[in-house]
Every structure is written in structure tokens, then in C-alpha cells.
Amino acid sequence: MLVFGRRWDREALANITSKRRLMPKLLSPINSFEGAVRVIRAGADEIYCDVQIAALRHFTLFRGVSCQIPTHDEFKRVVKYAHDHDVELFLTVNIPFIVKEMEEPVRSHIQRCVDEGVDALIIGDMGILSMVKDMGVDIPLCASMYTVVYNSAQVDLLRRLGFTRVTLENYHLTMSEISEIVRNSKVEIEVFCHGCGCSNHQRLCMLLHYRFPEMIRALSTIDEFGQPCMLPFDVHDVSSGELEASDLSILDGYTFCSICLLPELVEMGVAGFKIVGRCEGIEFQEKTTRIYRELIDLIGQGQIESFKERVASLRKNFRPSPRLANLQEVCCERRRCYSAPLFNAPYKVPLSWHAWTKLQTKYAVFED
């Protein structure tokens, strides 16, 4: 049986169903108490968030304060609500960089969050890992996407360093590479399943999603993602000086999706599906969680026909307004999914998609 061009049979599905306890967890992003309430009601198994460190609020690498829970008091409420509903809360200590001047505020921050009952820490820097070990923190550690994992040897290194779960670099590995890593791994492997993809490695991208007057002016000239990687560039050949292309968003930012591939990822043994979107609105966080919850449950219950129908419906009906692109056009035809070949995604996403992103959000929001 083929599901959207991929091999998928009832036997494999039965195999998954028999391993119901091994179904991947759904990890959803939040940036507020209200967001936590809504994604938990929508079916998240785990939630992840960051909390603003007041002393470092002016030093931003990738994400601004709007992506963070603003205070530890609100965070405490989130922890309580999550635990009351048997949902685990992961704290992203996701600064890919630490120096002495940051040590005290980060250390106090981690200690406070641990005291408030966070269930696990997401860490993306070896310095922060060393600090956490020095603090004697005794909760699970999850290796962030900032560790830029490409291979099994790195997963094994991270395991030896004390991580119990590793999040793979989103959208930079092929399905077969993910499968190989999962097969070799002695720790849980988690993948990002939906959200803002970026052609560039986030850890290594110093374009930085940061606003200053000149950047705001530049971004105001485009109808695309409000990020530097979507700025248009004139492309000249270095040797000849000839203009090869004008106003091309050659650094490429986009949305990615993996709904069709969920059965394959489940079969591989991926331990968690993580949704990108800490910087997004509650509506996105809730809707995306609800859709992925439904799809994962259909797979877990062995309802392959219902799963196929639901995916087909989502692909067709994802259309925020009559004049805008649907999921089929944005993510399938533009090859923005995990199965897309590494090199041949087209440059220009449909104009309607640009308009939609300006009106709405950077990410694909599922319509009910």
C-alpha cells in the first residue's frame, strides 16, 4: 500500500500499533501560561518554553523576549498546571553560547527553574552543560538542535556527556539519515515535525533574527518572512562581476511540514515530534498541537484509512483565505518536507504564500 508515494503497509502499521507504548511524544512550544493551558488541552504530551533572564534581556542571539515566558512567577504557574495534567515541562536553556559575564544570571535562572519543578533541561552548549553538571542538577538533559547532530557518533558522544534525549537538526537530514541515527542510538531521538524551516543551521547562523532600525527598514521592503534570511539580494558572479539575479531571496527561509511522513517516522522509532513555534501566537501553538495529536493518535490506533483521509483533507483545505496557497502548494509542491531532496527545493514560494505570511504568521497554521 502506498501512502502519498511512500511505502506503507498494514503489517508495518500493526507492528506500530502493537508498540503503542512506544508512540512518539508530542512536544509543543509555549511562551505564556495561556498558551500552556491551550496546548495541553489540545493534546501535548510535553511542553517546552524559555523564561526571560532579566539580566540578559538586552543580549539576544536568535530569539527576542516575545518568545519567552516573561517572569518566573508565570513560569511557576505553568509548571503547576502542566504537572496537574500529567504533562512534562522542558526548559530550553538554549543559549548556544556562554561566557563568564553570563554565568551568574544563567546559573541563578536554571536553579530557580529547577526549584520550581521543571522536568528536563534542553541544552545546546557544552559550557552550559558543564555549568549544569557543576550545579549538581539531577533532572534529564535533552540535547538541543543547537548541537547540530548529523551522525550517530555525535549522538553517542552526547549520551556519554549525560544527555538522555537528542533533538536532531531540523530539515537538514534525510529520512534515511534519521533512520540510521535512530537505529544506532541508545538515547531517545526527537525530530522537529512542523514549523519554520530555515535553510541555514540555526546554531551557525549569525544573520540573527534581531531588529535594529536599518534592518527594520530593509525588512519593510519585502512581503515575506520578517527575517534577515528572507531579504532579497542582487547576486553577482564574483569573478566576472556580472549580475546573475536581482532581488532574489537566495538565503531562503520557509515553512516545513511532515504530516505525510509521520507513519514512517513512527516506524523508525523516533521518540518525539517537536513543533517549532515558541515565537508564535497561541493560536498557532494550539492548532498545530491539535492536528499532530490527532494524526499521531490515528497512527497509534491503526486507523490508516482515517489517517490518509485526514492528511489529504489538511493538504487540500489548509487555505487561510480563498486567495492564498494551501498546504499542498506550499509544502508539497515546493518540496518543503522531510523527504524533499536536499538540493532541489525551488527558490520562490508562491506569491500568495508571501502575502499570507505577511498577513498572518511565519508558520503554516492548520485550518480546522
Binding site: 538586552h58 543580549f59 553560547f97 556562554i98 561566557v99 563568564k100 559575564e101 553570563m102 552548549d125 557544552m126 559550557g127 558543564s130 555549568m131 557543576d134 547540530v148 547532530v149 548529523y150 551522525n151 550517530s152 557518533a153 555525535q154 553517542d156 558522544l157 537538514h172 537530514l173 539519515e177 540510521e180 535553510s199 541555514n200 543551521h201 546554531r203 551557525l204 547562523c205 549569525m206 544573520l207 540573527l208 534581531y210 535594529f212 536599518e214 534592518m215 527598514r217 530593509a218 521592503t221 531579504l231 539580494f233 542582487d234 547576486v235 553577482h236 558572479d237 564574483v238 569573478s239 539575479a245 537566495i250 538565503l251 531562503d252 531532496p341 536536499l342 538540493f343 532541489n344 527545493a345
Partner: protein, 286 residues
């Protein structure tokens, strides 16, 4: 301080070896599909040795498949005696300990440097003078400017690290040297962002990584952003900004006891023959 030339292919190998550089760094720093064959590595290693120059092998981030290829190359190099291997992948770094003669050196992809950012004005928008200064102080350091990080790296045998030519960062290099790291500075090209979904390949219509014709061996692109007035360079799967070394900054590096300056021969640096390499070495020698 020694001068090395870095090449990711053999097109300019003769020119590099004929120059007055002290060493040759060979290999792909950023793209796993440009990893040389074992035969090619053998040839370049032998030629470099024959010319009395020091050989360093440069490796990129690697998938499981490429890591197996690199393992065979590491075994070969290990059999040749002490060789420095630049690792840009934590997994690869972790296996270097299996090869007693290889000297692990951290590549730029394992070191976070916020100041690689092409818009340094982001440090200018703090809430006040003191906060702005604080941000700038953090911004110009590297992830190795934290002692526990260095200690962890040294536990895995790391002896040195690659850095970029970002003069405001130079004041923070002393800390790394004092902590026992041997530093190599890339003279011209500061990596701003990189991808595995290669922008050059897509722009030029390459479809399969394994069958890529490697257009980046000969071509690079200037990216000009009109509103920001920013110029960046696209070379293969990496976007760089170009820096130009000054004598004043070189002196600072000599004072910091930096071990090596790296000259990359490619279309962006416009250093493509021995004379251009020699001129630069002369200019950077106090």
C-alpha cells in the same frame, strides 16, 4: 607565527606549494560532498611532505555515511605520523581519540562567535550606556571564552581552535592561549551562515548532492543587499563576509601568541597564485 594556505581542491595546489607558506591545510571545511577521495588525500599529503611543508587535514560536518569515509582517511593519516586534523563535527572530534598520532583541532563550526554577525550595530541598541557596553563585551567573545568549555574540549584531546579575523575579538584570544589552546586565524573569510541545503547548488540547478559538479571550486557570488548596504559572499553552502587584515591587527595577534594565520585561496579572496600568497605573507609579517 606560521602561515598556511587552505585549499578544498587541487586546482591551486601547485601554486600553494610553490609559495612561501609554511603549511598546507587541505580538505573541505564546510561541505561533506567535497570530502576528497583517499587517493587524492594520499597524493596531496605526499606532495606537501615532499615540499617540506606541514600538512593539516580539514574536515566538515559529516553524516554517518561520510564519517565512514573519513574514518579510512584518518587511519591513513594516523599511519603517517603526527598530523593535525581540523574537526567541525562533534561526532568526528569524539572519534579522533582512536588515532593516537592525530592532533584534534576545533574547526570554526564548533566555536560560536556572535560577532560573525554582519551587522555589528546590534550591539548599539541596549537600554543605556552600561548595558550597551555589557552587550558588546559579550558579543565579541567566543564560546571558548568560558573555562569549563575549554576544559571539556581538552578532555576530548583538543589542542587548538580555528578563529576568524574579527579584530574586536582579538582582545579575548589571550584567554584561550593562556588556557593552552593553539590558535589559527582565518585571514579573510568570516562565515556568517551555512546550510546543508546548499544555496549555490540550488541556484545553479544541481539536484543530487552525490552527483554535484562542485561549481564552487571555480565560482562564488557576491550578494548585495540594497537597503542595508550590505555585501556578503556566497561560496558553496556558506555565506561569508570578507575582512581585510591590517598591520595593526596583525601585531595584536603576534602579541597574543597566535600560532597560525590561514590564507584561503579561492575566487572571493582573489588569492589564486603563489605571488599573491607571497605578497600577503610579506605584508602580514612584521
Amino acid at each position: 607565527m606560521k602561515f598556511s594556505v587552505q585549499l578544498d581542491n587541487i586546482k591551486m595546489l601547485d601554486e600553494a606549494l610553490e609559495s612561501s607558506c609554511d603549511g598546507l591545510r587541505y580538505g573541505s571545511e564546510f561541505c561533506e560532498w567535497k570530502i576528497p577521495t583517499l587517493d587524492m588525500l594520499r597524493q596531496v599529503y605526499t606532495l606537501t611532505n615532499d615540499r617540506g611543508k606541514e600538512f593539516t587535514y580539514v574536515t566538515p560536518k559529516v553524516s554517518d555515511v561520510s564519517l565512514e569515509r573519513v574514518r579510512r582517511q584518518l587511519a591513513y593519516l594516523d599511519s603517517r605520523g603526527e598530523v593535525c586534523v581540523v574537526a567541525n563535527d562533534l561526532g568526528l572530534l569524539s572519534i579522533l581519540g582512536e588515532y593516537p598520532n592525530l592532533k584534534p583541532h576545533m574547526g570554526r563550526q564548533l566555536v560560536t562567535v556572535p560577532a560573525r554577525c554582519p551587522w555589528p550595530q546590534i550591539t548599539q541598541y541596549g537600554a543605556g550606556f552600561l548595558e550597551t557596553r555589557q552587550v558588546a563585551k559579550i558579543f565579541y567573545q567566543t564560546s571558548l571564552n568560558y573555562e569549563p568549555t575549554i576544559q571539556l574540549c581538552k578532555k576530548y584531546g583538543v589542542q587548538g581552535a580555528d578563529m576568524d579575523w574579527i579584530p574586536p575579538c582579538f582582545q579575548h584570544l589571550d584567554f584561550l592561549v593562556e588556557n593552552g589552546l593553539s590558535l589559527s586565524i582565518h585571514v579573510h573569510l568570516v562565515p556568517v551562515t551555512m546550510t546543508r541545503r546548499c544555496h549555490t547548488a540550488r541556484f545553479l540547478g544541481e539536484e543530487e548532492p552525490e552527483e554535484c559538479s562542485r561549481p564552487c571550486y571555480t565560482r562564488a557570488f557576491l550578494l548585495r543587499q540594497k537597503t542595508l548596504g550590505q555585501e556578503l559572499f556566497l561560496h558553496g553552502n556558506v555565506v561569508f563576509r570578507l575582512t581585510q587584515p591590517s598591520e595593526k591587527d596583525v601585531n595584536k595577534l603576534y602579541e597574543s601568541k597566535v600560532d597560525e594565520l590561514i590564507i584561503t585561496m579561492n575566487p572571493i579572496t582573489k588569492i589564486e597564485n603563489r605571488r599573491e600568497v607571497d605578497d600577503l605573507i610579506q605584508r602580514l609579517t612584521p
